[in-house]
Every structure is written in C-alpha cells, then in structure tokens.
C-alpha cells in the first residue's frame, strides 16, 4: 500500500443555543439560572459600556476605540468559564472579557482616554494590559502556562485574538510551543469575519480557523460565537482538559464585528450593509433573551432594571474617570526601569 493515509482529522462545530433561543439539552452546559442571568447582565453591561465609549469618542472625550458589538457572547461566554487564578492575555477588542473578569469600567475608560494607568489590573486579577500589536500576546500566554506548570499551579491561561491575528508569525510560534510542551493554554480566536477591511477568506485559505490547530498537534474546534452557551461549554471543556494536563485547545468563535473596526474606520467603504443586516438576526443578546424568556426568567421589568443598573454603573464610571487627575509628565519616566538611569534622572528635571 505505497500511497497510504497516515493521518486523518475532523473539524467539529459546536452549537447549543439557536437563533430562536432554544438550547440543545444534550449539549447544554451545567449553569444555574442565576449564572445564566449573570451572563445576560454582563452582556448588557458590556453593550452599555460599548455604547457609551462610542459616544464619548464622538464627543472627543475618549481616543480611538474598538467596539465589541456583536462579539459579546464570544467574550463573556469564554471569560465566564475562567477561574480567578487563571491568567488572561487579551488583545485590544476585549472589553467584554475585562468586564467579565471584574475589571473596573472606569479604568477602561481611563485607558481609552490615553492614560496608561487605566489598564493596570487590580492586584487580584491576572488579566494583562491590552496588546496592540496583533498576535504578539499569544506567546506570552504560552509562556505563562509554562510557568504555571513549572510552579505546579493548577492555573490555566487564555489568549484572545482575532481572525487577522492567525496570520502572524507569533500565532504560529506561540501555538507550536504550546503544543510541544502540552501546556494548559486555551487560544480563543474571535473570528469576526473581518480584519479591518480584509475579509476572512482573504486572510487565509483554510476553510476554518479551527483546523489550524492540526498544525500543532492539538485540538481545534469551531463554535457558534454568537451562542454564549456553546462558547462557555467549549471553554469550560478546554479548561478542564488543560488542568488535567491534556494540553492546549484552539477555539474558533465564529462571530461578527457589527461596528466599524474602530472609531477611526468607516466600514461602509469595504463591506455591504446586507451582510451586516444578516448578522443582526444572529445577535447574541437577542438569543439569550429569548432563551431566558422561554425559561420564564425574563420580563420587561427585568430588562429595564438591568439596563438601568448598567447605565448607572457606566455613568458612574465615566464620572469617576473624568474626575481623575491627569497623569504627570514625570510619570513617563517612572516605569521605564525599576530605577531611573543617570540620564533619566537628568531628563526628568525638565518637569
């Protein structure tokens, strides 16, 4: 048999909650009603944050901002599965992840207003500052997972990135090393179909992004990224696997970027309104709402209440942020090294 098959693969796609709000009972992860409501509330909170951020930017009160609209299920579903001791290495479009992890919203506004102090995580959170150069955070996640194993910690690590991020060399190097050392790291790719103006199919010729895991000898799967239960389940399973020493997982969350790339972008230049309209049907919030409604957990009053609460939280955050004293010019120097260099000690005297 000189021409023989020596390896075979299947790539799976996981869906739990459909657009009508019906969940597949056989796949439904164990979540209490309270937990599901918590998820929904985080979704509303994130969406509120996002709306305010866009408005503040328009008013010139915030710098360039990258909206998460449409991707909330991918972000909250995955981050919800994480333990507090786990580490998270986000990209720049993960406000839903930060908020789910418990990052104070006022600090996020502070960061987007151009103040690095905003992105310092509180001491009890192992969530890394925003990573701007696409894909370069991925090897950090691999390294942190390596350190966790070295220390014997039961910690797992998550890295977030987009479809565009999969094209970078650091995606490759980070996943490859994770595979070789079978590290407890989960790679969450939010495939939102666009990298600025480059559509998914011009980013790479592979049919799925999940299958890229084949190159590194570990599992990759696609989930409906607008289905918060599917994302949660896949992450939870991957975390369990990771903690059992069974190595990394690549999860492709198949979702959509509903907004412009950032506030500096105009998506109408390169994509059709029809496409955007189609994805509106798949809205992650709507779907979860329908689910809750069918379960009798949703009422108009509840909706109103959580929207009000979210508004209050975010408005308080904006106020708190805008009351912060601006950074001092001297602050530029203080965290370059542990101590100022001779030269810096002279330069800082300019201020």
């Amino acid at each position: 048999m000189p021409e023989k098959i020596i390896e075979s693969f299947n790539i799976k796609r996981l869906e739990v909650l459909d657009e009508k709000g019906d969940a597949d009972a056989s796949l439904m992860p164990p979540l209490s009603d309270d937990e599901i409501k918590k998820m929904y509330e985080l979704l509303i909170l994130s969406r509120t944050f996002d709306r305010y951020a866009l408005n503040l930017q328009r008013e010139g009160r915030l710098g360039t901002y990258a909206s998460i609209l449409g991707q909330e299920a991918s972000q909250i579903g995955s981050a919800f599965a994480v333990e507090n001791t786990d580490w998270i290495f986000p990209s720049f479009r993960e406000m839903g992840v930060y908020l789910t992890a418990g990052f104070p919203p006022y600090k996020l506004f502070q960061y987007w207003s151009g103040d690095e102090r905003g992105i310092t995580p509180p001491d009890n959170l192992n969530i890394f500052p925003v990573c701007v150069p696409v894909g370069t955070q991925i090897p950090h996640a691999t390294g942190a997972a390596m350190a966790a194993v070295y220390r014997g910690d039961k910690t797992a690590v998550l890295a977030y990135f987009g479809d565009g991020g999969t094209s970078k060399g650091d995606f490759h190097e980070g996943l490859n090393i994770a595979g070789v050392f079978r590290l407890p790291v989960i790679f969450i790719c939010q495939n939102n179909q666009w990298a600025i103006s480059v559509p998914r199919e011009r980013q790479t010729a592979s049919k799925t992004l999940a299958q890229k895991a084949m190159a590194y000898g570990f599992e990759g799967l696609q989930v409906d990224g607008n289905d918060i239960f599917a994302v949660y389940k896949a992450t939870r399973d991957a975390l369990k696997k990771a903690r059992q020493g069974e190595g990394p997982t690549l999860i492709e969350c198949f979702t959509y970027r509903m907004s412009d790339h950032t506030t500096a972008d105009d998506a109408t230049r390169y994509r059709s309104m029809e496409e955007v309209e189609q994805w509106k049907q798949k809205d992650p919030a709507l779907r979860l709402k329908l689910f809750l409604e069918k379960k009798g957990l949703w009422t108009e009053a509840y909706q109103k209440k959580i929207e009000e609460e979210s508004k209050t939280i975010i408005e308080d955050a904006v106020k708190k942020e805008e009351a912060i004293q601006p950074p001092q010019p001297k602050d530029m120097f203080t965290y370059t090294y542990e101590k100022l260099s001779q030269r810096q000690s002279r330069q800082i005297k300019d201020f």
């Binding site: 151009g114 060399g169 103006s197 230049r269 010019p329 965290y335 260099s341």
Partner: protein
C-alpha cells in the same frame, strides 16, 4: 497646479509611477478597497485592480518577505506597513535580506522595494502608533531611509524611492499628513536621495531636522539667524551639506522625536564631532524625545520636542562665542 496635502501628494506619486511602470505594484494591509487607513492608496485599487494593489493578510514579516521575493524576480513592490510600530516583526526580513541581497549575490540579485510607513508622534493614537524608530534602519548598511517633510517633497522623494535600485524605508510623518498643503505639480519630478536641503540660510546656528520636527524648527528658529537643514534622506545622509553648514556656523542643534539614546541625532553629532569639531564654537545640542517609553495620548505632547525646547537649545548654543 493643484494644492495638495501630503496624503494627496503621496497618492499622486503612486498613481503616476504605477501608470509609468508596469512593474510597480502595491501591497499591504487594507491598501486595496479601503485605500489604506490613512487613505494614501485611495482610489488606486479602483484604477489598477487587485492585480496591482494587493490586500495582504495581517503579516508584516510576510509583507516584507514577499516584497523581497517580488523584487528579486524583477518587480518594484511598494509595501505599506500600517504603522511604524508594527514594522519590528519585519526587521529580520529587512535587515537580513532586503539590506543584503545585493551584497550576498554580488549584484546578481537586487532588492528595489519601498517600505512605506506612517511614523512619528503627535496624533493621539494608541500605543505603538507613534513610533520614531528611524535610527534602527540607519544602522543597516544596504537600506536607505527617507523622510519627507512637505507634500511637494513627499511626492518627489517617493518617486525617487520607487525608482531607486535599492531597498528604501520611506517614513511618512503621520502628523503632517493633512497638516500642510502646498502646490504639488502633476507629472514627474524627482528629489534625489542622499541629499539634504537647506530650508533657510543662516550664519549663527545649524539646525538639523527631518519629518514633522521641521515645522517646529521653523517656528522656533525661523526668525533667528539659523541655517535650517532638512535631511530628507537619513541613510546614507548628506555629510557634505551638513559639514559645510557647520563649518560656517560653528554651532549645531539637532532635533528629533525618537528617544535620545542612540537616536539618529547621535550619529549626526558624532559625525560632526569627528570631522568638523575644530570649527565648533559650542557643544552640539540634541533636542529629542526622552529615554522613556513613548507615553499614551495624555502625555505625548510632553514627550515630543516642542518649539520652546528648540528655542532654548538655539539660545543655549548662541551663548558661546
């Protein structure tokens, strides 16, 4: 003659060169339909199609590497790196290959690529969107580093860069993109690489600058008896023009945005200290960014040399006789 800003001038240069020479192709992230995030390539995709204006995956090392492959085959790729802060992953391709292919193959293969990238601070953009890492490329024998300072110059330098038989890192000061307008003729004209330009003649102080700092220098020293030189090409730089001026004035101020230590100002200063020291009446002063990580928007204005600091430096060297 149309009055254009730098974005339009660059766009015009690209269009004309593509019309003139079939071998010129553009590639990069979002350079196609979107016309680039700063719109430098706007309309070119419509005009020349996706054969000549290639949207690439998000892949800076790949963009550089593929450009090199195209160039050795005979094309003249003009690649865009979306911001200079994302060029670092392409350093290996640029340093190990673009810069060395002519040498490694003893002239059999050449690498006429242009890597265009917006650079410099002052646009209140996120982290790594305001880099001034020009010095790194000036330490690479085999690449040229070009920085325009006005729309007219931008067009002429870009045309020369595209026609140059060697790899050119073409740094576009993002802060200037839409800040200044001036007359930019249609049709071909070139500004030679490797030559500086005397923006203002003067006898008391030589002020050296490039890119967006030039505007500030003009504001700070335009009224004084300063000889203001716009380097235009940093690597290889125009020793002749600079030395001549220094020998005349005996005083030097160098201005750049990049961190002081090992910035390109160091090279200028050292070259002068080596070859024209005996003409110097005062210490050579560098007005630069600080040796600190470039801060985010709220502090960026404190980081970048401002008119005040430049004035102070000019006054400082004027104290010496």
């Amino acid at each position: 003659m149309p009055t254009l800003n730098m974005v339009q001038a660059l766009n015009l240069a690209l269009r004309e060169e593509m019309q003139r020479d079939q071998d010129v192709v553009l590639l990069g992230e979002d350079v196609g339909k979107d016309g680039g995030v700063f719109r430098i390539t706007e309309g070119l995709h419509d005009l020349f199609g996706s054969r000549r204006v290639l949207d690439t995956p998000l892949s800076e090392s790949g963009i550089a590497g593929v450009s090199i492959g195209m160039a050795v085959y005979g094309l003249k790729p003009v690649a865009e790196i979306q911001f200079m802060g994302f060029i670092y992953s392409a350093m290996e391709q640029l340093f190990c290959h673009a810069a060395r292919i002519r040498s490694r193959s003893r002239g059999r293969f050449t690498c006429p690529i242009v890597i265009r990238t917006p650079y410099g601070a002052g646009i209140k953009a996120p982290e790594l969107h305001e880099e001034s890492a020009e010095a790194l490329f000036c330490h690479m024998p085999g690449v040229k580093v070009v920085v325009p300072s006005t729309p007219y110059i931008a067009k002429g330098l870009l045309i020369s860069s595209i026609r140059d038989p060697d790899p050119v890192i073409f740094l576009e000061p993002a802060r200037l993109y839409r800040l200044i307008k001036e007359d930019v003729p249609e049709g071909e004209y070139t500004i030679p690489l490797g030559k500086a330009r005397i923006v203002q003649e003067g006898n008391a102080v030589t002020v050296l600058a490039w890119g967006s700092m030039l505007q500030r220098v003009l504001q700070a020293a335009g009224a004084a008896d300063c000889e203001i030189i716009d380097l235009m090409t940093l690597n290889p730089f125009d020793e002749e023009t600079i030395f001549k001026s220094v020998k005349k004035t005996g005083r030097v101020v160098i201005v750049h945005e990049a961190p002081r230590t090992c910035g390109f100002g160091a090279e200028l200063s050292a070259s002068i200290a080596e070859d024209a020291m005996l003409y110097l009446k005062a210490p050579i002063i560098r007005v630069t960014g600080y040796d600190a990580v470039m801060p985010l928007a709220k502090l960026e204005d404190y980081y970048i040399p401002d008119v005040e600091k430049i004035k102070r430096a000019v006054n400082e060297v004027l104290k010496y006789y």
